[in-house]
């Protein structure tokens, strides 16, 4: 189920499951997963192409005409049917840290009601891991992802209303052992999203209800409230 009335610029994919809040870990990971998938569309002429189905094609030749399918998934994906698939790109998010930009994060206050608005920034590290059977391939694909992020970060920042998108860092390509030796390269960067929230004290609200009740002259509080809040 999609959220109704989503704003146009929002750190969340349109139509994502309703429990996923904007700028939440799942929203951020989904966002960057889709962004990376976009780079590996078949029409882009790369030697690797993303597809919903990971079953290799008979015609795959790992070149621009018959690209090899690449798996692009969020990290720790428990429902993916493809196992040990390479080449693959995994998107993950690190620990979110809040950064204050105002004293006590306060953005403003309405004296009459006590409604107080707050604002802060959330810094979220993003990690994109590129895994391949070959060191050269892992490094080449990582370079593609790295430069894509580097060149597109302004557009991504605007599209998803991010406060900051730091220049991405391309890591070393290192080996690992699984069913056989695989190579992985990390592309990492930080993003900053806007955090907004408000608090409203309950006492002034209750006081307002009491005053309205006394002013109404109704002898029974129950009937008064029923009249007020039931159609």
């Amino acid at each position: 189920m999609a959220l109704q009335g989503e704003p146009k610029f929002f750190p969340r994919m349109p139509g994502q499951q309703a429990d996923v809040m904007p700028a939440s870990p799942t929203a951020i990971v989904a966002m960057f997963t889709e962004i990376v998938r976009e780079r590996f569309r078949p029409a882009n002429g790369l030697a690797w192409a993303w597809s919903e189905s990971q079953t290799p094609e008979v015609t795959e030749d790992n070149d621009g005409y018959n690209p090899r399918k690449v798996l692009i998934e969020p990290a720790f994906s428990e429902h993916a049917e493809a196992r040990n698939y390479r080449p693959a790109i995994y998107i993950d998010k690190g620990e979110t840290a809040m950064q204050s930009v105002a004293i006590n994060n306060m953005a403003g206050k309405r004296i009459q009601t006590g409604l107080t608005g707050y604002y802060a920034l959330a810094t979220i590290p993003i990690d994109i891991e590129i895994v391949s059977d070959k060191k050269g391939e892992s490094a080449t694909m990582a370079d593609t992802v790295w430069f894509y992020m580097l060149s597109g970060r302004n557009l991504i920042q605007e599209t998803f209303n991010l406060h900051e998108f730091t220049p991405p860092m391309l890591g070393r390509t290192l080996p690992g052992e699984k069913d056989k030796t695989e190579w992985s390269t990390h592309v990492s960067f930080n993003i900053q999203t806007h955090l907004r929230w408000f608090t409203q004290p309950v006492a002034p609200l209750l006081q307002s209800v009491v005053l309205k009740y006394r002013d109404s002259g109704d002898p029974n509080i129950d009937t008064y409230l029923l009249k007020q809040y039931l159609p």
Binding site: N62, E137, D179
Partner: protein, 276 residues
């Protein structure tokens, strides 16, 4: 007595080459006998000619490296695990129709009783594998020298840029593997260990395989079990030796993921038709 050529000695001369010596028996025709020597990384070839047909030659010093050409990686003996095979072809005076050949790995030979003991062990093992607990397997020996792949190999960094290249099957050498060697092997059960990693659910299925001494296997060689078409990569080789001569091999192997390019290498078109 039929004409027979036998390789009597293959001595490695690390790191520069090997000495190969052979003998001829049953030579009854009068005239000149020509010998050619070939080298390969597998007992089934394909073979590179290193000594063209030479009259009455009974030994050869194979020196590495051979004169190099651009884009060609010469064979070397710089790895502890690399094995070489030599094939001697003898053409008698009667002509090519009567030629005989012999193949041998670079390995010491056993003498007298030890030779017979090895033969007995191999016979028993072979019978056990063929009649009792073995299954047919195709061995794909990985190429470690030859023409580098023009499609995926970068000559400066010496790295492959495409792991699923169908020109070299990810080995960086054109052709990828030597010709498949059909033999029998005993495979243990392969428990599938599923673990959660950052890369989703990972499956690792490792097991042990027992097989005869030929072809001698090394890490990264491939075993294709023809009954179930499961393909394994060799991780570790534990040879059983008799006076430093391999009698049989125990291997630690790991099953390859079904998306691996190895499943596209055609081994036996009758048993496993190529679909992917």
């Amino acid at each position: 007595m039929a004409l027979t050529v036998t390789i009597t000695r293959t001595t490695p001369l690390y790191p520069n080459g090997a000495f190969v010596q052979w003998d001829l028996s049953g030579a009854v025709d009068e005239g000149t006998y020509f010998f050619s020597l070939f080298r390969s990384g597998s007992s089934n070839g394909p073979w590179d000619e290193i000594m063209p047909a030479t009259a009455s030659a009974y030994s050869f010093m194979d020196r590495f490296p051979t004169p190099s050409v651009v884009g060609y990686q010469d064979p070397t003996q710089l790895s502890l695990a690399r094995g070489f095979y030599y094939k001697v072809v003898c053409v008698p005076p009667a002509g090519f129709a009567s030629q005989v050949d012999a193949v041998m790995e670079v390995e010491p030979t056993l003498e007298g009783k030890q030779r017979l003991i090895k033969r007995k062990i191999l016979r028993d093992e072979s019978l056990m594998l063929q009649r009792l607990n073995g299954v047919p397997v195709a061995v794909l020996k990985r190429r470690h020298w030859g023409t580098r792949c023009p499609k995926c190999f970068d000559k400066y960094t010496k790295e492959s840029m495409r792991s699923n290249c169908t020109n070299c099957w990810g080995t960086t050498f054109v052709g990828g593997y030597f010709d498949p060697v059909m033999t029998f092997a005993k495979r243990g059960v392969t428990p599938n260990q599923v673990g959660m990693t950052a890369q989703g659910k990972a499956e690792i299925a490792t097991t042990n395989v027992t097989m005869l001494d030929v072809p001698g296997l090394q890490d990264d060689d491939i075993l294709v079990f023809l009954r179930d078409n499961k393909r394994f990569i060799v991780k570790r080789v534990l040879p059983t030796e008799l006076q430093t001569v391999t009698v049989h091999q125990r291997l630690e192997v790991s099953e390859l993921p079904r998306s691996d390019i190895i499943y596209r290498v055609q081994v036996d078109p009758f048993r496993t038709p190529r679909l992917f």
